[in-house]
Amino acid sequence: MSIFRMQGAFIDNLPKIYGFYTGGFIVFIGIMALAEKAGMTADTIGLCFVGFTIVIYALIGWMSRTMQLDAYYVAGRQVPAVFNGMATAADWMSGASFVAMAGGIYMGGHPYLAFVVGWTGGYVLVAVLMAPYLRKFGCYTVPDFIGTRYGGNLARFCAVVVLVVASFTYVTAQINATGTIASRALLVPFGVGIWLGLAGILICSMLGGMRAVTWTQVAQYIVLIVAYLVPVIWMSSKQGFGWFPQLEYGDAVRKIAVLEKTLQVGVLKPPQAVPGLTALTTLHNGPPDTFVGHVRFATLVACMMMGTASLPHILMRYFTTPSVRAARVSVAWSLLFIFMLYFTAPALATFTKLQMLDPSLPTAIIGKALSDVNAHVWVQKWSQVGGLKVIDFNGDGIVQVNEFFMRGDIVVLATPEIAGLPYVISGLVAAGGMAAAMSTADGLLLAIANALSHDLYYKMIDPKADVRHRLIVARVLLVLIGAAGAAVASLRLTGILGAVAWAFDFAMSGLFFPLVLGVWWKRANRAGAIAGMVIGLGVGTWYLYMVYAGGMKPWWGIDHLRFGIIGALASLVSMVVVTLLTPAPDKETQDMVDEVRIPKGQTILGSAH
């Protein structure tokens, strides 16, 4: 308690505090393992894991409550680079990264690795083109930068619109994920799980804003990375691939390629489709070999990267560092912490696939007798909840690869059971998935609520509002947006990953070029930026509608997951053309850009602006 009051002491003690926290978490895992031996049921273990971690996050959120603007919006600008890196990693890695990525690689093979490349390489753009300059600017929100750099309420308003469209698309997917995990772990219906998940998210962010979100995100990163790495390392050492699986699964990749031939993966197609589930039909290591295939890989990489560099909930994390230099180093740390999970996901997918395909392993499924397959507890359990289905089409009593249907996103959740690990690991994985989804939802909700309260309410509607009013409005908006997100999420409109990719596409369509050119092109002016945002978002949305619902054939394989390419191109062209047709920005603005480019000196916007 007192340590949170004395900020200086708290910041100095961070390594100790989080070291203690990590130790405590490991002790908790140990206690759960003992409880399992003593006969605690799997359901109770899952409940303890998810419940205990949420209580801890809520406690941190409550202890970080604040009534100061600087603390609420940018965590007082004193988050050290390494800890900001961890918070960014949790902010960044969503329920989709945690739950769906390995499953996607399992089902999609090499082409799906475009997500892995895109979601890491985007940080090069963040570090080189954006983060240090936005930190020097001293803004509270991303529209704050657009509004000040280009001037005028219209530019600010356009940025708010793009931010809300992109972030809201994203946050519904996250609330959906928290609802799914909460309902399973806490044994309540999905509809109730969603609102419970939202309550947890709001407790973390409402009282303390960015400060509370920062310190809960660090705690959530620790839980999610432990939860992701432990099962993979355990499984790998069990299969004789050693304690550093990420370096040693090359043999497994090759072995799968051999097994795929004998089991006729990719040759056998399912005679009929099962809604919501897929059979394995792509080779694990089958890179694109057509021109369109290459374009699809490259455009997906480009969309995820440029989206990364435009998503406001990520960019605003770098507003919280003590200096420009720290912001830059912090991007590198963020990527290192993210890398820990992303270079493990392909290993996890590979090991799980080998478990299912290799007939010499007791866990094998494909090519085994139907009765043996149905005898696996995990097969029964996931069949009951609709996560997988076995249909013996040809009636030979053997499960062929085209007769085993699975939902991709159960791979991570079911892996501990597939490999026969104890239930305590399943509980740990559920807590990790919850941490991943909650931390991202927190960042997104805060990004939306801050843009609406700071840019729309304070800057445009009531510039005379006092601090107390501003912070109350910010919190009311947070609750309202959260509730709206939960209401939309309970409709279950799209799968987790579809909505996530769209958020990246929306963000890059509207914001990428106005942000980059705002720093790197002094000539860029207000009219150009407004054109870039409006036309970018408009054309992107039009293209999405046409290929997703309008029946248009995608151009060069650029489908609805990649519509940001079209939107961003339209944004770039319109921004450059309109800028050149209109007068250059005034001297004051040009001097401001000069100031943004050097770390030295005061921030452009003072504190408590």
Binding site: T120, V124, L129, S323, R325, V329, Y342
Partner: protein, 87 residues
């Protein structure tokens, strides 16, 4: 003041050059390498087919190393041109 402005110009020129270098590396490992995944798969690296390895791990490692290097290089430019923040 004039001296300060020319320092600023030097600082920005070096910053821009550094940006171009890093975005070139970024381009190679984000796009170029993966375009040639099939021929690269014939090469074995730590027992991995290289094309698969680059997408699953190799490019990622390059990005991480690149960012720490970038932070160090840019900081050096800031200091040498007198544009770094006061501690």
């Amino acid at each position: 003041m004039a001296a300060d402005n020319s320092q600023k110009e030097i600082h920005w020129n070096r910053t821009r050059n550094l940006m171009i270098v890093h975005l070139t590396i970024w381009f190679v490992f984000s796009f170029a390498v993966h375009w040639f995944a099939t021929p690269l798969n014939k090469i074995s690296f730590m027992n991995f087919p290289l094309g698969f390895y680059m997408a699953a791990q190799g490019s990622l490692i390059v990005f991480v190393v690149q960012l720490f290097t970038f932070a160090w290089q840019q900081n050096k430019i800031d200091q040498e041109t007198g544009m770094a923040e006061e501690e």
